[in-house]
């Protein structure tokens, strides 16, 4: 293990969020089993109070997930000098097999926690807790994933061993490490990927606007927003990053959040994550549109979510387009590396 302050902070955050989720889960199970809004039983009253605690806890977990996602990448990036062959976060994440799974789970958990909060918000609008069971079913799904993330992250950080000078073996110690998964994604052809990205993005935006205006195709929009989220990530790696770095060979999805590129990555990723959470929120809430106590507000809220998502995706596209147009890199023909 590397006793780096950021590593300690990462582990702390991860243990705290899994502790909070476990605590929330404990009451979540009770709610799933014993919830009965008609009953005036003491347990029911206790549970009704506990829902406030749980939603507060999970809002914190959500905030913590967002911050720790960036802290995680930061840490990986700053640890890079300690490993042979690692120049930024990509190399550090490849140091042991748990790096990338931990990162993927972090992103997934961020999205899941966001969806839970959307569900929670909608639930609080109705006077009779109409979505409570669904909410806690989702929590029952999120909690194990957050625990799993905690385990992977611990394994990742605790298993790290820096390549430093040991007593007398000098440079022999630094054997070349084989680079792994990270670079594989990057080798997708840049230009076709870009056209694909723009194509799917326009479909998504049109679908979103149609949904906003006519209220049709909510599920389609949710599915498309998940799809375009994944495509956007791939496009950042395979082509957008090239334009930001103005280097036809540099595919790193992490360096764009660094100071050299004026922290543009934060903006891109925050917009993207916000867009996918609100887009998926449309799909999560759509089945509840006919619930009696939510009829009045829910479809308005869903449309607002769709609009938010569409605006964010449009902003993402605009930002990316601006970066591509203003970049001095011109890709006229493709070289396969």
């Amino acid at each position: 293990m590397i006793l780096h302050p950021s590593v300690i902070a990462n582990l702390l955050a991860s243990y705290i969020s899994s502790g909070m989720v476990l605590y929330a889960m404990f009451y979540g199970v009770q709610i799933l089993r014993y919830w009965d809004i008609q009953s005036g039983h003491e347990l029911q009253l206790v549970l009704e109070r506990k829902t406030y605690l749980i939603s507060t806890l999970l809002s914190y977990v959500f905030g913590l997930q967002l911050l720790s996602l960036f802290l995680f990448i930061f840490t990986a990036d700053s640890l890079a000098p300690l490993f042979v062959g690692a120049m930024c976060a990509v190399g550090t994440l490849n140091v042991d097999p748990y790096g990338y799974p931990a990162l993927t789970l972090k992103i997934l958990n961020f999205i899941l926690a966001g969806l839970w909060l959307i569900l929670n918000y909608a639930d609080n609008q109705g006077y009779d807790y109409p979505l409570i069971k669904r909410k806690y079913q989702l929590l029952a799904f999120v909690a194990p994933v957050i625990i799993l993330e905690m385990i992977l992250e611990s394994a990742y950080f605790l298993g790290m061993k820096p390549d430093v000078i040991t007593s007398c073996c000098g440079s022999l110690f630094s054997s070349e490490r084989v680079t792994g998964l990270g670079s594989e994604i990057a080798s997708m052809p840049a230009l076709p990927m870009l056209w694909f990205f723009y194509g799917v993005m326009s479909c998504t935006l049109i679908c979103g606007i149609v949904f906003y205006l006519k209220g049709l195709g909510g599920y389609l929009y949710a599915a498309l927003s998940l799809l375009i989220f994944l495509i956007s990530l791939a496009a950042i790696i395979s082509s957008i990053s090239l334009y930001i770095y103005e280097l036809p060979t540099h595919h790193c999805p992490f360096c764009i959040i660094m100071e050299e590129y004026s922290y543009i990555g934060y903006l891109l990723y925050i917009i993207l994550f916000g867009a996918v959470v609100s887009g998926l929120g449309v799909g999560v809430l759509s089945p509840s549109r006919n619930v009696e106590s939510l009829k009045l507000m829910l479809s308005g809220f869903i449309r607002k979510l769709a609009l938010t998502s569409v605006i964010l995706y449009a902003a993402f596209t605009a930002l990316v387009t601006y970066k591509i147009v203003s970049s001095s890199l011109v890709i006229s023909y493709e070289v396969v590396y």
């Binding site: 590397i2 006793l3 780096h4 302050p5 950021s6 590593v7 300690i8 902070a9 990462n10 702390l12 955050a13 705290i16 909070m20 109070r49 406030y52 605690l53 507060t56 806890l57 914190y60 913590l64 911050l67 720790s68 960036f70 802290l71 930061f74 840490t75 990036d77 700053s78 000098p81 300690l82 042979v84 609080n124 820096p162 390549d163 430093v164 000078i165 007593s167 007398c168 073996c169 000098g170 440079s171 022999l172 110690f173 630094s174 070349e176 100071e259 050299e260």
Partner: protein, 418 residues
């Protein structure tokens, strides 16, 4: 949206005025909180900037240093090996070095004696190597630093019988230009050397205990034969070949130990990471104590506070509003403490030379350099700090807040014994 912002504003207004109503209690918490942030932030700022300093200095060191090892110990390097090194493909230049330590019993301090490289053009710095300079892209300020040599002779000329001292030695011995400095040579005879000048004070981190001496005097002082040098440095043109060249050196000279620059950098990084981490682990006890304190503060509501919440709920505040109020209370306290602590730590580390933690973090020596750290703070440090202080505090107060917020108004107001 506007309505929401207005609502939050009113809640914040209310929270702050309610905080100010209980000045003593809240300022006690705030002071303790600030102190915790201050301690952690000082540690982090110090280790990060010293790491930065070390990496800036080491950036100009030679790519590979080759030492000879006998029975696992560092031994003198035979000059005849240099030709073998020069024959290795990829090696741009090989430079021999003479350096060592001298223990001065008078002031019980160790000096570092170094024979400056004979001519500048092989000393790594002015060597034209397009590749290495392209890779290093730092901000403008550091670029200026880079072009400066590590030590400046300040016009003094080094000739046999003279030496040039670092500032630390000059301070310790209270000597200056044209004074004589006696050395006891290896055979017991006394060698009297005249001081020709002092090194510039800008580079004190590296040159505080440094004595520059001519090769002749050096050999006379330590009795080192002309056939030996202390070690050699190997310059490599292509940075990506360094590992390969190092392994070739090991093959050609089995008793040699090549050490590459990146390995030294990595080791320094690890050491300072470890020191900073160690301090944080030690401070974690303090953080834990603080968290327990915060928990206690948040859960031990005074009768007045209970009644306040009871009345708020009775006049129509919902549980979620009370939680929101408490959230803002936490945010106000946390952010005030966090930023005050960070600013104080910044002043402490970069303006007062971190008087409190210096001995633990820097190491100890009787000839310690006086130097001012270049301020270096980035977002990563601040995020880490936030996670180590604000997050534990916030988490510790969630459950007490919820308990307070779910008090029934009637039971809260029935408590009137204030």
């Amino acid at each position: 949206m506007r309505q929401w912002i207005e609502k939050q504003r009113y809640i914040i207004d209310f929270t702050i005025s309610s905080l100010l109503r209980r000045k003593v209690k809240n300022f006690g918490l705030l002071a303790l909180y600030t102190l915790i942030v201050f301690m952690l932030a000082s540690t982090m700022f110090f280790t990060y900037s010293i790491k930065k300093e070390a990496s800036l200095i080491l950036k100009d060191t030679p790519e590979i240093i080759v030492q000879k090892i006998v029975a696992g110990r560092h031994d003198l390097f035979p000059v005849s090996y240099i030709d073998t090194l020069k024959k290795i493909r990829g090696v741009a230049a090989v430079e021999s070095r003479l350096w060592g330590y001298y223990y001065d019993g008078l002031v019980s301090a160790n000096y570092t004696l170094l024979v400056p490289p004979a001519n500048g053009d092989t000393s790594g710095k002015s060597r034209p190597s397009a590749k290495t300079t392209v890779v290093v892209s730092e901000s403008g300020g550091q670029q200026a630093d880079k072009s400066k040599p590590l030590f400046e002779l300040g016009g003094a000329v080094l000739e046999p019988g003279t030496l040039i001292t670092g500032n630390g030695i000059a301070r310790l011995r209270d000597i200056g230009k044209d004074d004589y400095m006696p050395f006891r040579a290896f055979d017991g005879s006394v060698l009297n050397l005249r001081i020709a000048g002092a090194l510039s004070s800008q580079s004190e981190l590296v040159s505080s205990d440094l004595l520059l001496i001519t090769a002749e005097d050096f050999r006379k002082l330590f009795g080192i034969d002309n056939r030996y040098v202390t070690d050699v440095t190997v310059a490599v043109n292509n940075p990506s070949e360094v590992e390969m060249v190092a392994s070739k050196i090991r093959k050609a000279l089995p008793e040699a130990r090549p050490i590459s620059r990146v390995e030294i950098l990595r080791t320094y990084d690890s050491i300072f990471n470890w020191r900073g981490g160690m301090m944080i682990v030690i401070f974690s006890a303090a953080v834990l104590a603080f968290v327990i304190f915060a928990w206690d503060k948040a859960s031990g509501l005074s009768a007045g506070e209970r009644r306040e919440i009871g009345i708020l709920k009775a006049v129509g505040w919902e549980t979620s509003d009370v939680i929101q109020m408490k959230f803002w209370e936490g945010a106000v306290v946390s952010l005030t403490a966090f930023f005050t602590g960070v600013i104080l730590a910044y002043v402490h580390v970069f303006f007062t030379g971190s008087i409190v933690f210096e001995p633990a973090l820097k190491g100890w020596s009787s000839l310690y350099p006086n130097f001012e750290l270049t301020p270096f703070v980035n977002l990563e440090q601040l995020t880490t700090l936030f996670f180590l202080t604000v997050v534990p505090y916030t988490v510790a107060t969630i459950v007490p807040i919820w308990r307070a917020a779910t008090i029934d108004p009637d039971s809260a107001m029935r408590f009137t014994g204030e």
